[in-house]
């Protein structure tokens, strides 16, 4: 058989491509369910880890329903109905201006306190970075943060996902004394103020990416959180005025 004939070459190429396509699409479709589930559970893990609850992936679902009391979608600083917050693809939302986004918001309850969990998404050096940041009820104090990335350099930008970096965030404030939104500035060393954290040496572009991501994504929430906080404080005060109720 002459394997260098034109007709043979074309046939070989065609058959090879079809076989390869069949094998790969079979692999992709048969594994899809498992992969999607991994991604879903990982998202729950990440959300939980932003309120400093660490779980194994397998147990994430049960713990998630324990802590997360409400999933909201905020658009133009108002809650909107009929959209599943968990299924929103943030990558498609962050390209819009903050007030036009369908921004998912998770409200968690832990040890009797309410926390707002805000998903974030932005740009690193090589690809997207994302994360979750949880705020205390005053909508300003950061309670916990978790970041992740697609393809930042290991040892440099990729360090944003390590505790060394995320542990810098708790107890920082995203609002100043007058209640204006400031965000968090990533500094080149010597971070001191309550709106500053130290960046990663060698990972400047990724660190600045984190700063911009927080700045950009939080804008979609702050006015809503303030009003939510105000209405909630009012109801808490109402409880306090009734001493018998608070004994329970």
């Amino acid at each position: 058989m002459d394997v260098n004939k034109n007709s043979y070459t074309f046939t070989f190429a065609a058959v090879m491509v079809i076989v390869v396509a069949a094998v790969l699409s079979f692999a992709a479709t048969s594994l899809k369910e498992k992969q999607d589930n991994n991604i879903r559970l990982e998202k729950m893990q990440n959300i939980l880890s932003s309120i400093n609850v660490e779980v194994e992936r397998d147990g994430a679902e049960a713990v998630y329903t324990d802590y997360i009391k409400q999933e909201l979608v905020v658009n133009n600083f108002q809650p909107v109905e009929g959209i599943a917050a968990f299924d929103i693809e943030l990558s498609k939302e962050v390209v819009k201006t903050p007030s036009e986004r369908n921004a998912p918001l998770y409200i968690a309850e832990k040890e009797g306190k309410t926390y707002f969990i805000l998903p974030l998404r932005g740009k690193g050096l090589w690809g997207p970075i994302w994360g979750y940041i949880s705020l205390e009820q005053n909508a300003s104090t950061i309670y916990g943060a978790t970041f992740d990335h697609k393809s930042e350099t290991p040892g440099l930008g990729a360090e944003i996902k390590t505790e060394v970096f995320t542990s810098l965030f708790p107890n920082k404030e995203v609002l100043d004394e007058s209640g204006e939104f400031t965000g968090i500035t990533v500094m080149k060393g010597n971070a001191s103020g309550s709106h500053q954290v130290n960046g990663i040496s060698g990972g400047t572009i990724t660190s600045v990416g984190v700063q911009d991501m927080i700045q950009d994504c939080m804008k979609a929430y702050i006015p809503f959180l303030k009003s939510y906080e105000a209405s909630n404080t009012a109801s808490t005060n109402g409880d306090n005025s009734n001493p018998i109720a608070s004994i329970d």
Binding site: V3, F12, K150
Partner: protein, 227 residues
């Protein structure tokens, strides 16, 4: 197929599975014909992913699989591949194997697949793989090609791990993510030690590979070219 089996049979009759020649297929790439330090192939990935040991290890294992499986597949098809499109055929084989590996990792060992993310794609462009397909698998029996794939992957792996060992140790004071340089030595803790940030950057990978080549050539003088 009959033809291939015929060739295999002859090969078996001629020599045992682990004859000296076959063993050399594994041992040579570790030193005398090391893909990185002697043939200078696969350098790009050796620079890119040796900041830490763990990704380097996972990368080595993935290359091991892709290279040995790919070598066997190419070797099985070698008498049927039209000469003019052989490079494309090789590329299709590598790419499909890599995608397959990626999909399986994503489904069953999700954490490892996240660790690998970009590097999986890098396997396709790893010159060692195409180099071995073209230079060896196209002309040899499947068993020999398999051994050759293993040997070259091991040759690649040990360089990768050696470079990653020094870069992680000197660059972040860790090995496999565990702190090995005592915390109390660091300047920030009142000690006198500081990690060398340059080790984390690609240039130091090149220099580390260079030092390994230097050491290797001074031990193995046969490798030194005559001027």
């Amino acid at each position: 197929m009959a033809e291939v089996q015929e060739v295999k049979k002859q090969a078996k009759e001629r020599e045992a599975l682990f004859s000296k020649k076959n063993r050399q297929l594994i041992s040579d790439p570790l030193n005398d014909s090391n893909p990185i330090t002697v043939q200078v192939l696969g350098i790009c990935s050796a620079l890119a992913i040796t900041v830490k040991l763990y990704p380097a290890l996972v990368m080595s294992i993935s290359v091991l699989f892709v290279l040995s499986a790919g070598n066997v597949i190419i070797s099985l098809m070698r008498n049927y591949i039209p000469n003019r499109i052989r490079i494309i055929v090789q590329l299709v084989v590598v790419a499909s194997l890599v995608i397959l590996v990626d999909q399986v990792l994503k489904a069953y060992v999700y954490d490892v697949s996240k660790e690998l993310s970009v590097f999986v794609g890098l396997i396709i462009t790893n010159c060692i793989i195409m180099g071995r397909f073209e230079a060896f698998a196209l002309a040899n029996s499947p068993w020999k090609s398999f051994l050759d794939g293993l040997g070259n992957a091991f040759g690649y792996a040990w360089i990768l791990l050696a470079v990653a060992f020094f870069r992680e140790l000197l660059g972040s004071g860790q090995l496999f993510g565990y702190q090995v340089v005592p915390k109390s030595w660091y300047l920030t803790e009142g000690g006198v030690y500081s990690d060398n940030g340059l080790m984390l950057l690609p240039p130091m990978a090149l220099i580390t590979v260079g030092i390994i080549i230097w050491v290797q050539r001074s031990k193995n003088t046969a490798l030194i070219e005559e001027d």
